[in-house]
Symmetry: C2
Subunit: 206 residues, 2 copies
DNA sequence: GCGGTTCCATACGGCGCCGTATTGACACGG
DNA sequence: CCGTGTCAATACGGCGCCGTATGGAACCGC
């Protein structure tokens, strides 16, 4: 007794493990312990399954994640929360990179683009909340977003280099990132409305 | 009259356009204007073609790229050169992300890991050349490498957000990154041998 | 108990790809 | 000429997947 949502969830698993091209009806049916006779009752074809999986993914990676992050009120805390959220689920990371590198079918790109844009806009809002102008906030957001995405890839390509969310070194590294990615002196009480360009870090002991 | 290198090059194209799973003998043969009768003279099977393509890729993305970057002597200039090199070829970017997200066959991961590690080590050396200790240099290198990889993905997922290497805005953005990613005050003549932690950017007009 | 609906199994045709076997065209040294 | 090596075309069997067609079991209201 499966629902179409069960199929969509299994399809997301398949995306994370074998990529978008690996979303095949018969293998997924085997994983679920049924035959494809079940599948073609719930869905018209393979493409409909992909759409369902993508909708599930988009809802989770925009509304749900951003809703949780919005519980933090301080812009600085929001950015830090985003870093930990992104690093929390290894499954979500794999799905993201798989979707991001997919080329076929074409509509996958639309979902990826919407999710990425909403994330980037959110980060930009965080920086705007620190008092930066739109243009400067966009630049900082692009760099911070790059670090997010790059971290996903490093955890994939160089396991062990990037600390996992449950390791003690993770906290240290987040602190390191925060100091660099969030320009101080913009906490809202001073320099609240001026644009700011990065001036780098002063050399001192670590 | 094809050589096995022609096939490996076409396989790399296929990886960039259709992913690792898209490296199929017969379609590539059609692209090259021959039949697979030619292919199975040059290679034992599909896997051998993948290995040849990966060897070609590894040579280009480590020895060749790093050799060009090493022409710069100043560590700061090297990092900046790396940014522009990474953003130079859209084809190389697509190949990299495709390989990075590949799961099957397993040996692909070995190539990706070696290439990533050599790049990361190179960046770490650059920071060490600025006078940072090994541990701190590693942290900076991880962040800078993340920005590299994230930039590739942003250019894919959000076309238009990240300026291309031939646009005028590209230079501005590189400067912005350099100021943030390379802590000043470590140019070699002062504070040359002390570890440094990031202290962020001071607020000033952009 | 009977028709209808829900959910799944089975069987089938078709397609794209892999890998092998066989043959053919062409160059070259003897 | 002839043999040999090089490179490619053709033909074939097999496999995994898609999508359809059909059947069947369980459950429902009546």
């Amino acid at each position: 007794m499966l629902t179409s949502r069960d199929w969509a969830e299994a399809a997301l698993d398949a995306i994370g493990q074998r990529g978008v091209e690996g979303v095949a009806v018969e293998p997924i049916a085997r994983d679920l312990g049924v035959t494809k006779g079940s599948f073609y009752w719930h869905f018209a074809n393979r493409e409909a399954l992909l759409v369902a999986a993508l909708q599930l993914w988009e809802a989770r990676e925009t509304d749900d994640v951003l809703e949780r992050v919005r519980q933090e009120t301080d812009p600085r805390a929001r950015i830090q929360r985003l870093i930990t959220e992104v690093n929390a689920s290894r499954r979500a990371s794999r799905i993201h990179t798989a979707l991001s590198s997919a080329t076929k079918p074409g509509f996958v790109r639309d979902y990826v683009e919407r999710v990425s844009k909403r994330r980037l806009d959110f980060i930009q809002d965080c920086y705007a909340g620190l008092g930066l102008g739109a243009e400067t906030a966009r630049r900082w957001a692009l760099m911070t977003f790059s670090v997010f995405l790059g971290a996903l890839q490093i955890r994939r390509d160089l396991p062990g280099e990037w600390p996992a969310a449950d390791e003690p070194a993770f906290g240290d590294y987040v602190k390191f990132l925060m100091v660099t990615l969030v320009p101080p002196g913009l906490d809202g009480d001073d320099a609240a409305t001026t644009d700011a360009a990065p001036a780098g870090a002063a050399a001192r002991d670590g």
